[in-house]
Each structure stands twice: as structure tokens, then as C-alpha cells.
Amino acid sequence: MLCFFTLVISNNNIFLSLSYNTFIHLQKTLKVSHSIPPMKTDLKESTSQINTARRQFLRHAGISAASLGILATAACHKGEQIRVKPNKIDIGKDDISILNYAYAFEQLEAAFYTQLIQTPYTGITVDELALFTSIRDQEILHREFFRASLGANAIPALVTDFTATDFTSKNSILITAKFLEDLGILAYIGTCGLIKNKDYLTVTAKITSVEARHAALISNMIAPGSFSGSDQVNAYGLNNSLSIGEVLYLINTCLKTKVNAVYYDYQA
């Protein structure tokens, strides 16, 4: 609920259109998110003392998928507009799956910023255009990096769906950008413990902090000084994280090609 109210306060223009969708989808969203099964890896965790520590300090780590789901409703596809039977692809397993997961996410971000620069919002300043162009180019490079790294193991190009974003409205753009950038960090932190190859781990960490730099900028554009807000950083000063299933559930609202992760017990 916190996200919902933040959203409303930060964007008066979207209130009327969002509130309708939000209220009618609220209960459905909550039910769906609660049905996300626990990840296999969580079940496989040993019960050493470190996990006690983990429970103590990560207990408050996850922001609820439900609250983000509401934001996703605002950022991505509108209500019941998808009529085409969606394609589904799967990220696979092991390190390949984590790279494909990142590749899917970077495809989404790159597509969003590419559209933003093609059709800039009303009143965009020279500085804003330069910053968003730089972010676009970085996201495209992230996408191309994962595509090149994966080679024949790469999932196909995804068809995105940003019909709920009003590309003429700065507020609408900032809400979608914050949703994507924050979610990228949540996703990368949520999967770092699943990576087996140390070089992959380091390179995803290199990208994680760049996404955090983007997120801090976008947050400050929405509300100056909100770069490390309580919606993203927990009471211990740690950035939150989300599981693969939680993230895919959210980004599939921005995708016509649905991304599955059967190995991690998630299917759209």
C-alpha cells in the first residue's frame, strides 16, 4: 500500500487513471503475488548459523511483491489489453539462467529508454535528454553484453509492452523508469547468491552498481533527496532484493513475450 500512496502523491496526473485500475486489481494482485512459490534455492539452504544471521538481518529485506505489482500495473501493460496469445520462453538453469534473466531485464530497460529518446516527453530539458540518452546507451550495452556472453544459449529478443506508460508525460516516464531501475537492483541482488562462476558474479556486480546510480538519479528527479528511500533500502541500510519468481511476475506485465523460470518454480 505504501508504494501506491507514494505513487499517487508523486503524480497527481496519473491518479484518476491509476486509481480505477488499482482498486479493481488490488485484491487480484495480492492473491497472485502470494501464490508465488518459494524458490528452490531457499528450500535447499542449509541450516547453519549463518542462516540464522541471514534471517535476523534479511527478515525485513523484501518489499512485498504485491506493492510492486501495483506499481507494475501503472508502469506497464494496461488492464486486459493483451489479446494475442503470448509466447513463452524459459531462462533455463545454472549460470546460463541468471545471465538470460539479466539479458531479459536489460532488453526491457533498453527498449523503454529507446522509446523514450525516440518520442521525448513534453518539456524535456537538454540536460534530461542527455542523461536519458546516456542511460539508454548503457542499457543497450548491457543488453548486447549479455547477448554476446550467452551466444547460442541466449533467449530470443523479447516483445515489450509499455502501453500503460504515457511517453508524452514526464511523470509517467519517471514512474516507469523508477520501477525498472529499482527492480533491476532488486533482481541483481536477489540472484547474486545463485551464480557459480566468479567472473559472472563480478560482472553482474559491475552492472548492479550502475543500475543503482541510475535509480538514485531517477528517484531524485521524482523527489529530491529520495535516492536511498525506505521503499528500497531497509532498516539495516541494505538495499532490498527480490527472487527470480517475484521479479519475473512483475516484468512480465511489461512483456508480450512471457518469461518463465521453471527451474526456479516460476511460470507466468
Binding site: Q138, A205, A216, G237
Partner: protein
């Protein structure tokens, strides 16, 4: 006390113990196979010998407690810095004070979190050093002597601390591969440091991300900090020259984009060398 209890006890102190052991199962099997011939009292000694062998090859990889204490020292540096700057009431203008109160509070939380994590894992948190924020190695007359009276100097030091902090945490990620809980926590702090770095750089009116040239990692204009940014100009990622990857238009990517899109790590030794000037001996 049997062998497995001993191993369990050691795991409480060093969670990586089992992983360090597993490639050397043969050594452990030796203990159990002639266990009947070894008296109960001799087992701890025998295990100690085996442990030394098991650990020898990994001696260059810092342990979890060592990494957390390294992180704690960095957080002491940052929290002391912001506690002083926000406490003296003059160096930070009112319009950006809320930014630095947010950062200060995060750094203080990191100190608390890391200290309790170290204790939980059976370690002892290091004590805070005394700092010299002038960068004078204890002389208090270093290049940043006016750090708490001149806002421009304060911003420079804050930028250096945040960007270097991001690199320091990132450099430990691969050392924590076998301990995913600590790894996740460390990278979660790392992301918050990157949020800080972006915010401070926005205040400084430079790019929120580090945009290097082919020869100079440092994009801050603070030439004293060249070493803190050395390596940010790297364009080889996972064996791929990312400047050769296609951009929106064309078949190559600009060096500015290639360096901005990836933040680079520093080793523990590199970071310790860089922060030495801010620590009183």
C-alpha cells in the same frame, strides 16, 4: 566431542570451512579411515594439522570475518566523516543537508549491521581507527585540510569515499562466492553506496556514473584522486571488448558509454592503500 561436532563448531567461526574442505576430501578421509587408531584426545590435534593443509592453498583469499571487518573499517571512515560534517552545522548548506543526513544514517546503520554480523558469525569487530580527513596520514595538514569548512572540498572527499566504497565492496564479491548470505548482504550495502555515489555526484554537478576516457579512469576533475579511479577505464568485460559491441547506431560503442556502463572493482589491498592517508597511524 566427535569429529562432526568439531566441524560444526569450526563452521560457526568460518562458514567457508566446509567448502574449503570439500576439494580436499581425501585429506579428511584419512582422518576418519584410521580414526579407530587415533585416540579421542589426539583428534583435535590431527584435525588441526589437516586444517593447516586444507587452508594453505587458500591463504590468499580473505576469510568472511576479515572481509566484514574490512567493510566495517570503511563504514567507520564514512560514518565518522558524515557524523562530523552534519554535526558541525556549517560546512553543508541547508538545501543539501537532508541528502547528507540520509547518507550519514545509512552509513551508521552499516556500522551497526556489520558489527552485529561479525559477532553473529563468531568474530570480533575491529575498533574504529582515528581518522585524518585532511588526507594527511595523521598530520591533519593533508590536501583536504579545509574539508569541514569548505563545502567544495567536502563534496570532493565525499565523492571519493562513495565511489571508492562501491569499488571496495565489489572487489570482495568473488571472495564470498561460497557464502551466499554474506555475499547478498555485502552486495546490498554496495548498491546503497552506489546510490550515495550517484547522489553526491549529482550535487557536484558531474555525471552520476563514472565516465572515463581511454586513458583516465577519473572523471571527477579531482586529480588527487586519480588512483581511486584507476582501472575504471577498463572496457574488457568477461573477456569481451565491449567497445566492439553494437550500439543503437553503428557497430561499436563509445568509450564513454563502455566505461560508464560498468563499475570496476578494487582489491582489499588497493583500497587499504588508498584510505591510508585518511587514517591516523
Amino acid at each position: 566431542m566427535n569429529l562432526f561436532n568439531i566441524i560444526n563448531e569450526i563452521e560457526k567461526i568460518d562458514p567457508e570451512f566446509n567448502d574449503k574442505l570439500s576439494p580436499r576430501r581425501a585429506a579428511i578421509k584419512n582422518i576418519t579411515s584410521f580414526g579407530s587408531k587415533v585416540t579421542l584426545a589426539a583428534i583435535p590435534f590431527a584435525l588441526g594439522t589437516m586444517l593447516k593443509r586444507a587452508y594453505a592453498a587458500d591463504s590468499v583469499i580473505p576469510g568472511v570475518i576479515e572481509i566484514l571487518n574490512f567493510a566495517l573499517t570503511l563504514e567507520y571512515l564514512e560514518s565518522s566523516f558524515y557524523n562530523l560534517a552534519t554535526g558541525n552545522g556549517t560546512v553543508i548548506p541547508a538545501d543539501t543537508l537532508p541528502y547528507f543526513i540520509t547518507i550519514r544514517d545509512d552509513e551508521n546503520k552499516h556500522v551497526t549491521f556489520l558489527s552485529s554480523a561479525i559477532i553473529t558469525l563468531g568474530g570480533t569487530p575491529v575498533a574504529s581507527p582515528n581518522f585524518d580527513f585532511s588526507g594527511g596520514s595523521g598530520t591533519l595538514t593533508g590536501p583536504f585540510t579545509d574539508v569541514f569548512t569548505n563545502y567544495a572540498t567536502f563534496l570532493k572527499v565525499a565523492t571519493i569515499f562513495e565511489d571508492t566504497g562501491v569499488r571496495a565492496y565489489k572487489g570482495q564479491a568473488s571472495n564470498l562466492l561460497s557464502n551466499k548470505d554474506v555475499l547478498t548482504a555485502v552486495l546490498a550495502i554496495h548498491a546503497v553506496e552506489a546510490r550515495h555515489a550517484s547522489a553526491v555526484r549529482q550535487i557536484l554537478k558531474i555525471s552520476p556514473w563514472i565516465t572515463s576516457t581511454a586513458t583516465l579512469g577519473n572523471d571527477t576533475g579531482i586529480s588527487l584522486a586519480d588512483a581511486n579511479y584507476q582501472g575504471e577505464e577498463n572496457v574488457i568485460q568477461g573477456g569481451i571488448d565491449v567497445t566492439k559491441l553494437p550500439a543503437l547506431a553503428g557497430n561499436a560503442t563509445d568509450i564513454a558509454v563502455a566505461t560508464a556502463a560498468f563499475d570496476e572493482p578494487l582489491t582489499m589491498a588497493q583500497v587499504q592503500n588508498l584510505i591510508k592517508i585518511f587514517i591516523q597511524p
